[in-house]
């Protein structure tokens, strides 16, 4: 059993967050669409990944892991199904994909705190576009298809430290390093041929790798058993996009905003808690590094939900969660202010539980699941999506 668990942990640690499948056409706007590196519990509660009761590995809440007593590893997968449309062009379509926005490991170290290590998705830049064109060659109109694919995005690896200062106050700090890459490729395919031969494909593109540094610091406090408060801030240096030597396009540098997060959970009744949270960031300073015609604005993300922690399933604790979330998106395709809203819900399932030496319950293996149904709008563009988040967590290795 222990061997199998170790194998599973190693497999999780070998994984890294990927933007395996894009989840919005708005990935083509500006630097892409931000990916919230949160777990399924936060998703189900409509939260922004801060201010939840209990221990967790949440990059936006570095103090949340301060009270972990054993090594913990977790991974989140997010499949989603999206349909989109444009009211001005009557264009519509659908797509689906899965991404793995967060893989985290935490380990109590030297009796002074908890060290965390995580891989996260930051910005999703994966999308494609195609358009039929007519090209005049030798006084003959040839049909061609222009297509463009953008593959990749910004990811991050983060090393953190969290410490409980006393029974109610915890603090945490993490240092992250941006990574990831972007491949942008334009292709013109001629559908018609001329004279004795067909026209070859024209391709152009580039490859950029990302670097940059960010620091997140936060603190949380329990107000007795009735409330939990948390706040964190993230400072980022410039995000550098370095073009490869064979890329004709130039390198770029973007200023990333300071992000402020606030969250709180209040116990409304035994087994019933309310969580709320918000994130504020001013992306307008990123605007300067963007190509002409792209713009960025300030964003406010807020959400909240209730958790029924005494619910049981299959004889085990299976907390039920419901929530709502509203998020401004920083980059627009149309110049308007894009927004994402979603109703959320989900449940947790404890797969294995043990008792600590102090006879407290210790969850050794659990699964959290969330479902979201929401929409994104950006001027005439609208997307409706269904998104599932699945977080697997193992403790005690």
């Amino acid at each position: 059993m222990r061997f199998r668990r170790t194998l599973f942990v190693l497999a999780l640690m070998a994984a890294k967050p990927t933007l395996g499948g894009a989840q919005s056409i708005l990935s083509g706007a500006g630097l892409g669409i931000p990916v919230d590196a949160v777990d399924a519990r936060s998703r189900a509660l409509g939260g922004v990944g801060i201010g939840l009761q209990g221990e967790a590995i949440l990059p936006g809440d570095p103090a949340a892991s301060a009270r972990l007593v054993m090594g913990t590893v977790m991974m989140t997968a997010e499949p989603s199904w999206v349909s989109y449309g444009r009211s001005d062009t009557n264009e519509s379509g659908s797509f689906r994909g899965t991404r793995f926005p967060l893989v985290g490991v935490a380990y109590p170290a030297f009796g002074v705190g908890v060290i965390t290590f995580s891989f996260e998705s930051v910005l999703d830049q994966r999308y494609s576009a195609a358009n039929g064109v007519t090209v005049n060659v030798a006084d003959k109109l040839l049909a061609a298809t222009d297509s463009f694919t953008s593959t990749g995005g910004v990811s991050q690896v983060r090393l953190g430290f969290a410490r409980a200062l006393n029974r109610s106050v915890s603090v945490g700090i993490s240092v992250g390093r941006y990574g990831g890459s972007l491949v942008r490729r334009f292709t013109r395919t001629f559908n018609d041929s001329i004279a004795s031969g067909s026209l070859g494909q024209f391709q152009d593109g580039g490859y950029w790798t990302y670097t940059g540094t960010e620091v997140t610091a936060g603190a949380s406090a329990d107000l007795g058993n009735v409330a939990h408060l948390a706040a964190s801030g993230t400072w980022s240096g410039n995000l550098e996009a370095k073009a490869s030597s064979d890329t004709k396009g130039s390198s770029a540098s973007y200023a990333l905003p300071f992000q402020l997060r606030l969250g709180a959970t209040g116990v409304l009744a035994p087994g019933l808690a309310l969580n709320v949270g918000l994130t504020r960031a001013d992306w307008s300073r990123t605007d300067k590094g963007l190509s002409e015609g792209r713009s960025a604005g300030s964003t406010l993300t807020w959400g909240g939900g209730i958790e029924l922690s005494r619910a049981r399933l299959l004889g085990r604790s299976a907390p039920l969660r419901f929530g709502y979330r509203h998020a401004d998106l920083p980059f627009s395709l149309t110049g308007s202010k894009p927004v994402e809203t979603a109703w959320t819900g989900g449940l947790g399932l404890v797969l294995r539980q043990a008792q600590t030496l102090t006879h407290e319950a210790l969850t050794q293996a659990s699964v959290d699941l969330s479902f979201e149904r929401g929409k994104r709008t950006d001027g005439p563009i609208s997307e409706s999506f269904k998104r599932m988040s699945l977080t697997l967590r193992l403790t005690g290795f």
Binding site: G30, A129, T149, F186, G197, G205, L369
Partner: protein
């Protein structure tokens, strides 16, 4: 309980995996595409991309074709005769005797026969029924070097025909071929004639030795392509005299001789024929462009081309009606290949075909007659892309125009040369645009 838990997790993972089939969001929104590139056509005259044209002949010999040609005063000048050597006569045959027993008969009697000549009805230039002559040769000839005037023309020895045109030949019989009636002509042989080519293996008297057969055309104004010749022997079995057998004797050698031999072109390009012609020239692929304005409006000129920007490149040649006697009567497969070592010409090794199919660019025979001056394109896109991509080598590259199957036919294809108003040119379609930038 464990089973239930496992099942629950498995279902959850299955749902997650179900979405793993990726479908990227694809939009037709122009705002999501980078600035459009420009596709433009450029035509480079001969002087801007090529030089040093040369025509070489002598590749291959007629017996490599495996077919023959007979002609008489075709277009007033071309005469051609086909020479053939038959294989050894059969020494035995399997027959049934009067009791129905299958036995091998080693005592065969040949009492007559036929020489059957098969013709290519499409490739033959024949106005109507024609008369052919079948004769027996008594002069030794070498299948690889025989020509109109020489029976043997090897390094070790040379022997001229006693009469030019593979003569003399002892005429045996004649036959009429009507192309509207079939594809073959039959020369009927009596019992003595049927044995003529049996003697070629046994008779040692050099004055009477038989050296194969010669087929010639008696009717002027035609050129026939002979695809095959066979000797069929009427045979009687000693085991069962009532059984009539027809045994076929194949051929060991087949070639043809013709006159006049075409002279090299003074200006122009030539491919095909037998021995075959090749046209070789140097090519300087344009790598930097300063026009046209539409291109320069999209990218900063002068623009240094990269291989992906060349979406099409083709040699543009103009067909030429030249000597009607050697004018193609069937489609021509034109090939173009790089010359690896131009200093070794005319024996320089050639690279692989630049024609994608490897079967050459098919050109209709009429393009070299009524279609004189028609522009034909030979796509060489991938080669041009490779030349542009190869920055390690500078200077011109050498290309050879030739028949895809060499030799292929007595006829050859001609194209106007660089000094003509219909000089070859290089047509390129370039697609270029601003660099794809980071968002």
């Amino acid at each position: 309980m464990n089973r239930t838990k496992n099942l629950t997790v498995a279902v959850m993972l299955a749902v997650a995996a179900a979405a793993c089939t990726q479908q990227d969001p694809t939009s037709v929104d122009n705002a999501l595409l980078p600035e459009q590139p420009v596709t433009t056509e450029l035509t480079f005259p001969w002087s801007d991309f090529a030089s040093n044209v040369a025509v070489y002949g002598g590749y291959g010999v007629p017996p490599e074709l495996g077919t023959g040609v007979v002609a008489k005063a075709f277009d007033g000048e071309l005469d051609a005769r086909t020479l053939v050597r038959f294989a050894t006569y059969p020494l035995s045959a399997v027959v049934q005797d009067s009791l129905g027993t299958t036995l091998t008969d080693y005592d065969l009697t040949f009492h007559g026969g036929r020489v059957v000549a098969f013709f290519d009805t499409v490739a033959s230039e024949v106005p109507g029924p024609v008369t052919l002559d079948l004769g027996v040769l008594h002069t030794n000839w070498d299948v690889r070097t025989a020509s109109w005037s020489m029976a043997v023309d090897t390094v070790g020895g040379q022997e001229a025909w006693p009469e030019p045109g593979a003569g003399p030949a002892e005429s045996f019989t004649t036959a009429v071929w009507d192309p509207s009636a079939g594809d073959s002509a039959v020369f009927v042989l009596d019992s003595a004639q049927a044995l003529a080519w049996q003697a070629q293996d046994s008779v040692t008297d050099s004055t009477t030795v038989v050296q194969g057969a010669r087929l010639s055309l008696l009717t002027p104004g035609a050129r026939l392509k002979l695809t095959s010749v066979a000797l069929r022997l009427d045979t009687r079995s000693s085991l069962n005299p009532d059984t009539a057998l027809v045994l076929t004797v194949g051929r060991t050698d087949l070639t043809f001789v013709y006159t006049p031999a075409p002279a090299p072109p003074t200006d122009g390009m030539r491919v095909g024929g037998v021995p075959a012609w090749r046209t070789v020239f140097d090519v300087n692929v344009p790598t930097t462009l300063s026009s046209p304005p539409t291109l320069c409006a999209a990218v900063k000129c002068p623009v240094k081309l990269n291989s992906s920007q060349v979406t099409y490149a083709a040699l543009v040649l103009h067909t030429k009606k030249e000597d009607p006697a050697f004018q193609p009567s069937d489609s021509v497969a034109l090939d173009v290949r790089p010359v690896f070592d131009p200093t070794a010409l005319p024996k320089a090794p050639l690279g692989s075909s630049l024609i994608a199919t490897g079967l050459g660019r098919r050109l209709s025979a009429s393009l070299f007659d009524t279609g004189d001056g028609t522009a034909v394109e030979v796509p060489i896109t991938e080669w041009v892309q490779a030349v542009i991509a190869d920055t390690t080598k500078t200077g011109p590259r050498t290309l050879a125009l030739l028949s895809a199957f060499e030799p292929n036919d007595i006829s050859y294809a001609s194209f106007y040369g660089p000094d003509s108003p219909f000089a070859p040119s290089l047509r390129m379609v370039i697609t270029a645009g601003p660099a794809v930038e980071h968002p």
